[in-house]
Symmetry: C2
Subunit: 493 residues, 2 copies
């Protein structure tokens, strides 16, 4: 007889019912070939006695095995391991416990461009970022309160089921009004798809715009996540220069004359990464070119709300009379990255197709969060939050830039950015960011993935330093660590 007693373990402390514990162990023994096909199983009463469990437990186990097809009951003969089970290939059962972690039984496609080092945050290290909001200023309690209030409505139940792939209707209506009044657009909810942050808008647009070989034009320095998204969609990336007036549209015109341009990606308000604002001349030129050559303008307006010297400049989308602009934005910079609420604004036919695609990407957004943000925007709370943080970020920009020029003038050059959350900092020529990065570690300063700003190897020797996440004390500390690092570097070089 098979050594049932030694092979089966009963764990009375486990949450798993006894009968299921037995069932699963027996299935494994059958699969491993230890109880081969056709074997007669011990009678229920016998097994119950061997294991010291109630007979009903064993009966339930055998019934389960029969239902699942592992064993069969032959009247008046007993219970047998199913004779029709296929021969089982030898399995490496010693590795079973960790098998999923290190074994792969099939192949898939890796995109080398997407392999990026992920930073693990360590205590006491200061991480330089490319311009992220300070989540300590996020009115998260108010948002959670609104969330709960919305959920408490008796009318909430329909919103808990499958919803529109366009996003919640209420939020689309509120956003249409909000974007029309704050950004000079003239859209309705039919021009809006609610996305999960700006990145999701760039992704969906790319999937619709590009097939292998289609041309996307971007700046010679550009937002790296956008570049990765375009290349993942198999678009060919062509680059034009960026100067103090933004994308050089004359270069773009030359490209247009040479071959079909499918789309142009711009962060016209504050070019990522250099922070410059596109001039009116270039804006009009770009719109004219789009009309003439029939390309899409992907306008990523990631930090529209953050202007310190003047009112925000209206986006290209507000001047788009010919349906060329796909406008992308989100609340991730304004409120907090965790709230994945963004919008894709475009001619209706494009939005309709994006909603079709969205159905298979992730089916739909989060209606409860979307209703929460509809309320947050409509009540004016978003605007008053923006007013509040704008003051804070302005004073952080001023402090950071003042200290940078007072204390680090020998090493860095920069323009004070008119808006946004970061400064484009040029390292004077005798130094390299690679060295700053290495020595910074000694002073618990991480400058992050500096290479992403120069994937074209133009040696511009600049990186973005975000100031918005740091409060006054932290800015002093950051400058202090930067000073220590640079002095150390100066000494050794």
């Amino acid at each position: 007889m098979f050594p049932y007693k030694t092979s089966l373990e009963i764990d009375r402390k486990s949450k798993e019912p006894l009968f299921l514990q037995l069932t699963n162990q027996l299935i494994n023994l059958i699969k491993e070939g230890k109880i081969p096909s056709g074997t007669k199983l011990i009678a229920t009463r016998g097994l119950a006695e061997l294991l010291g469990v109630h007979r009903k437990t064993v009966v339930a186990c055998y019934e389960e095995l029969i239902l699942q097809g592992w064993v069969e009951s032959i009247p008046k003969k007993g219970t047998f391991v199913n004779r029709n089970l296929p021969d089982i290939l030898p399995l490496d059962f010693d590795n079973k416990k960790t098998v999923n972690e290190n074994k792969l039984g099939f192949t898939f496609y890796k995109n080398p461009a997407l392999q990026r080092t992920s930073l693990t945050n360590e205590d006491e290290v200061m991480y330089i970022n490319d311009g992220i909001s300070d989540t300590r200023l996020t009115p998260v309690k108010e948002i959670a309160k609104t969330y709960r209030r919305i959920v408490d409505r008796t009318s909430i139940f329909p919103h808990l089921s499958y919803g529109s792939t366009y996003g919640n209707k209420k939020l689309r209506e509120v956003l249409a009004n909000y974007l029309n009044s704050t950004r000079g657009l003239s859209v309705t909810k039919d021009n809006i798809l609610i996305t999960r942050g700006s990145q999701n808008g760039i992704y969906l647009s790319s999937q619709l715009l590009f097939k292998e070989g289609d041309i996307i034009v971007v700046g010679k320095t550009n937002y790296i996540s956008a570049d990765l998204t375009f290349s993942n969609a198999k678009a060919v990336i062509k680059r034009v220069a960026v100067d103090e007036c933004g994308l050089v549209t004359d270069d773009l015109e030359r490209l247009c004359k040479k071959g079909s341009v499918k789309a142009v990606y711009v962060t016209s308000h504050h070019h990522h990464p250099t922070t410059v604002t596109m001039s009116a001349e270039r804006r009009i030129h770009l719109l004219n070119l789009a009309k003439e050559y029939g390309f899409a303008i992907l306008e990523d307006d990631y930090d529209y709300d953050f202007n310190y010297n003047h009112a925000p400049i209206l986006p290209l989308a507000s001047h788009d009379a010919n349906g060329n602009v796909v406008y992308i934005g989100s609340v991730c910079k304004t409120v907090a990255p965790v709230f994945r609420v963004g919008y894709l604004v475009a001619p209706k036919s494009f939005i309709d197709e994006a909603a079709n695609l969205r159905r298979i990407v992730d089916r739909q957004g989060d209606a409860l969060l979307e209703l929460t943000f509809a309320d947050f925007i409509q009540s004016g709370e978003l605007d008053s939050h923006i007013r509040k943080v704008l003051k804070v970020y302005k004073s952080r920009r001023d402090l950071f830039c003042r200290l940078l020029s007072e204390k680090l003038n020998n090493y860095f050059e920069f323009e004070i950015p008119k808006g946004g959350m970061a400064v484009w900092v040029h390292l004077k020529n005798q130094f390299k960011w690679k060295e700053v990065s290495a020595i910074g570690e000694k002073y618990k300063l991480s400058i992050g993935d500096y290479q992403r700003y120069d994937i074209e190897n133009t040696n511009h020797n600049c990186i973005r330093i975000g100031f918005a996440t740091f409060n006054e004390d932290e800015i002093h500390e950051l400058i202090h660590r930067l000073s220590l690092t640079m002095k150390h570097l100066e000494k050794v070089s």
Copy 2:
């Protein structure tokens, strides 16, 4: 002089500051060519008098125009419309208001397969679905309470910023334990990516598994959203028969011998749409084939928790010793579709690449919701919710099946499903679902998109009818409307 007074409107009730109202109107006039390049603007004092506003307002407006590059100030001469603005192409300004809604200035790719009719819900109409949970049973208030409690923690701030593309670490750990104990898996958090529902898991997997022409094998009847996702990823879909034991693996073996199979999609627990459970024999055969031919098994375990006759059958993933299974699940059926929390469970290298891809699809999940569900699962609330609804759905299944056979025996045939939320209903041959659909409308009954169940035109004449969304009264009403419809149909045919 340009007719400033008649061309510019001041709205003192608007939230938009006066200077910005003026700025935006002047920009439009410049863009429209009504104030041409090189034109000298009226002096600030003059314009202030004309409009009855403070001179400071006009000064701010002109400064803004200069900053944005629309006009230039020439010392001792005055303020002029920028002479370097390009000629502006004629714009159709009459249409400006609705321009985005009906005009498209570029081209993009449409996927005809994704064009699906979206249903608009009307009051009083009963909609037949393919098996959706009843959101009235969702413990949404408890979840919102947990959400708020989590947000109230002072340690919440780091979670509000950019997070891991794998999903929240805590939830991944909790899920690893939960899946190991409930589904017999042996995984760690490194095998888990948090997705936004099962569909998102199918999408990400497809993007990694398929390039143009790669073969995916599915059942002859199959879940249509999965089919759409595979064809969108340019995979070639090959179909094998499905019988009362699930996917016919002998057919699959023949396909494997003929050419390279990249992946097989199964809903092994309850085949979608026919509801049958895959037998043990077929399960082992499938796993053996996967090992032998090196393909991936995409196991979509969409309704693991809903078994009425016996304990849930452990997924293929629990028997996967060779790293062939990509296991997909979510809480969308168990709790509610609105909570887009799902999981992709697979060998680590696959999960790592899925996390890389995810970075560009939508960057990350919703950490607050993920923390909420970590708590909801760990506290045992998910399990007690499942126990509660399982009883409700079992009694709904029993009632629905009893009435269906008592009252509609002449028209329909079906097997009582052992689990899940839907019955696979066969319409006897003299009738057509198309007719049922048309006549149903008269009785305020919508049977939905019945064609999706037979995209291969095999004339199986079956659709899924979900019973879980309807309470006892509603089930009686549904049967009543179905009876009226069928009697009417019988009379006219």
